[in-house]
């Protein structure tokens, strides 16, 4: 796609003719240069390393000073001089512990390096007709995962513009996450509509609702979005990758997994940061998890995803009833083991108090 955008092609043609005629103009105002010499720190010379000039490299001198509370509700870049009289914007997340994770800057650069393009990089030609029940199951999972990505996108977009400018690394990383989510919705839709199938039935949306309703703070949303739902999605994607039917599906699931791993790295890291920097936060997380586990258990009980996954694992409805469902139940068990281990790492012991319906997946 190298041609100009249709609307801009004519516009530039008009403008270019103009820029060739530089005429002398009289009556130039004397410059005041009021802006000169106004800096907090001068003489910075960050050099690119082997991975180029990365966002995290810029944190030198005062530019790397990241305060616990960001006073300024304007768009003043961190380290720039402020200016009196600037009306504030509604940046409501102003504490570092409300969004921070040390890895955000690196993850931001990694996301850019690892971008991919569904239209041209997925080997679509490798798709082959699948048995009807399997195609239906794949399409149903595409629909479900697409709705999960939509929820992730909507909750991030909701919070992003409330995050203070002082913590721009997080805002920038989250821009890569919503971009990933849009791409996931795109690629799942493309898969569902290109192999004789279609979309499935929408999700009941119990966990989606839980995530979207967690509007008390971004950290609270992260508890549900990443610690709980995200950990489960990793297992789903891993399972799908291991049963991919063709190169196109392998490509899609492996790239989604890679993106998703970045999202989780940020999410877990942020929760750890909040847990260690904000008094009482693990107690809040524990309360949220107690409630959230009930919703998660209810969603796991829902027949649609579990049977679709079982059909994919079992190679059809028949196999789905036996080995397919067995494997899906193992997947849920592995998810719960991951979840409990993460909770422990965060200093929240859920082993004893895990929701009984979830506990049942861990038995036998």
């Amino acid at each position: 796609m190298s041609e100009k955008l249709p609307t801009e092609a004519a516009v530039t043609a008009a403008g270019e003719a103009d820029s060739k005629t530089i005429e002398p103009v009289h009556g130039v105002h004397k410059p005041k240069y009021d802006w000169m010499g106004l800096t907090n720190e001068w003489g910075v010379r960050v050099k690119p390393g082997i991975h180029g000039l990365r966002l995290g490299d810029l944190n030198v001198g005062i530019y790397g000073e990241i305060p616990e509370f960001w006073e300024d509700q304007t768009r003043r870049p961190r380290g720039a001089l402020s200016r009196p009289g600037i009306p504030p914007l509604p940046y409501s997340l102003r504490y570092k512990h409300e969004m921070w994770a040390d890895c955000a800057a690196d993850l931001y650069e990694e996301a850019i390096q690892r971008r991919w393009i569904p239209a041209t990089e997925v080997p679509w030609d490798s798709l082959e007709v699948l048995p009807d029940d399997v195609e239906r199951a794949v399409c149903q999972i595409c629909t479900e995962l697409s709705q999960c990505a939509n929820t992730e996108l909507e909750i991030i977009a909701y919070w992003q513009d409330r995050m203070s400018y002082g913590y721009f690394e997080v805002k920038q990383f989250l821009a890569t996450v919503t971009f990933d989510c849009a791409r996931h919705m795109e690629v799942l839709r493309k898969r569902a509509l290109s192999n004789g199938g279609g979309l499935g039935i929408e999700s009941r949306g119990r966990v989606n609702r839980m995530i979207l309703e967690s509007s008390g703070g971004w950290t609270e949303a992260v508890v549900y979005l990443y610690l709980m739902r995200g950990t489960y999605i990793t297992r789903l994607l891993t399972g799908l990758l291991s049963s991919a039917h063709n190169d196109a599906e392998s490509f899609i699931y492996s790239h989604m997994l890679e993106d998703h791993a970045r999202h989780l790295t940020y999410g877990y890291d942020h929760l750890k940061y909040a847990a260690t920097h904000r008094k009482g936060s693990t107690a809040i997380m524990r309360t949220l998890l107690t409630i959230g586990e009930g919703h998660m258990a209810d969603e796991l009980k829902d027949g649609v995803v579990r049977s679709a996954m079982a059909i994919i694992f079992g190679g059809g409805i028949e196999g789905g009833r036996t080995r397919g469902m067995k494997r899906y139940l193992l997947l849920v068990r592995e998810f719960l083991e991951d979840y409990l281990a993460l909770c422990r790492w965060l200093g929240i012991d859920r082993e004893e108090t895990l929701h009984p319906m979830l506990k049942s997946y861990l038995e036998d």
Binding site: I86, F168, L199, R323
Partner: protein, 355 residues
């Protein structure tokens, strides 16, 4: 010898959902540009509702589940509010043209500049580091409020947020990479009436952001060859211009769609454009604007130092002139060219005076 046959455990399998899926038999095929969003607008999956009744966040065309939670309080749910005709194209184009500020800018071409020139460049970079993400914050807010039924248009906005994150970051990198630093903020996008942030209607926001604000910046970036002091800066402006062209195209195409779909909103749009033109001429959001401090920095860069300020200022006037011309072209393309003929807009007169 007898062999024990293991009988696998049978589980219940709910397959009732198979009877209630979206339209079946979709067979989209990749074309010469791969499998694009346009290619998958097949059958009912390509049908765009004029008014979206999607309250649950389902993907467009998925089967409705009666017991699904109504979590999608989407305030943007009529097509004309947000739609544009080439959204699929803009989205795919954006994916093809992503770039990395870490590795795609030839940072090694930076060389020490005279103090006044470095200061001017850093002042400009501070301005952009400050204002680039207004175009990230604000679209994000609207994305959260837009029904997923209009996914193509919404996806273009999502990529814009990504692009702006990269712009914010490339200007910060430049400011801190050549012996300078950040300078004083401008406050150009703070919370005052008429600012991009505070618009309460999507089209009004888009006029302020895409047509007025980014339009002016795009023209300026396009002329980065004139004020970039080295290959790194020139590349930076060129790549940013490429992204901005898509953002501006979104605004132009959206206005065009809205004007055709709801001609009764024409006068309202003209009022937005009246304000946009004021911003273009003298607003702080236009870094080359008549009252913007950044104009002085631009003149220093264009002239190659304070001692050549007058020469730089002449070139700055060329940028301003080109901003006016490109603005008029865009507004004409959006279907509002009449305002330049009936005396409503001050732009033609300004343009003529600048010759």
């Amino acid at each position: 010898m007898s062999e024990a046959v293991e009988i696998p455990e049978e589980h219940d399998l709910d397959t009732s959902w198979m009877e209630n899926m979206g339209e079946w038999g979709a067979n989209a095929r990749p074309g010469k540009r791969g499998l694009t969003l346009a290619d998958i607008q097949v059958g009912s999956y390509g049908d765009l509702p004029e008014v979206s009744d999607n309250m649950t966040g389902r993907p467009r065309g998925a089967a409705v589940r009666p017991e699904a939670y109504r979590v999608g309080a989407y305030s943007v749910h009529t097509l004309s509010e947000i739609w544009l005709d080439n959204a699929e194209y803009l989205y795919e184009e954006a994916l093809q043209r992503q770039w990395s500020s870490a590795t795609d800018i030839p940072w090694h071409t930076l060389e020490p500049l005279p103090d006044d020139v470095e200061e001017a460049e850093c002042f400009l970079c501070t301005f952009f580091n400050e204002v680039e993400f207004v175009a990230g914050d604000v679209p994000a807010r609207w994305i959260a409020k837009t029904t997923p039924d209009y996914l193509e248009a919404r996806n273009v906005l999502v990529v814009q947020v990504m692009d702006e994150a990269r712009h914010m970051d490339v200007f910060r990198k430049r400011a801190l990479a050549n012996g300078g630093g950040l300078m004083r903020m401008s406050g150009a996008t703070s919370g005052f009436v008429g600012s991009i942030d505070l618009a309460r209607d999507f089209t009004e926001m888009s006029t302020r952001l895409h047509i007025s604000g980014e339009g002016a910046v795009l023209t300026m970036f396009r002329m980065g060859e004139l004020f970039g002091q080295n290959e790194a800066e020139k590349t930076m402006y060129r790549l940013c211009a490429q992204d901005e062209a898509r953002h501006v195209a979104f605004g132009v195409m959206h206005l065009r769609f809205l004007a055709a779909a709801e001609p009764e909103r024409g006068e309202e749009i003209n009022c937005y454009l009246d304000e946009a033109e004021g911003q273009l001429i003298s607003g702080q959001q236009n870094p080359a604007g008549a009252l913007a401090e950044t104009s002085e920095a631009l003149a220093v860069l264009l002239g190659g130092g304070m001692q050549h300020y007058d020469e730089g200022h002449k070139k700055l006037l060329v940028i301003r002139r080109r901003q006016l011309k490109e603005y008029m072209k865009r507004v004409m393309s959006a279907g509002f060219g009449e305002r330049f003929e009936n005396g409503r807009s001050p732009i033609p007169e300004r343009y003529a005076a600048s010759a």
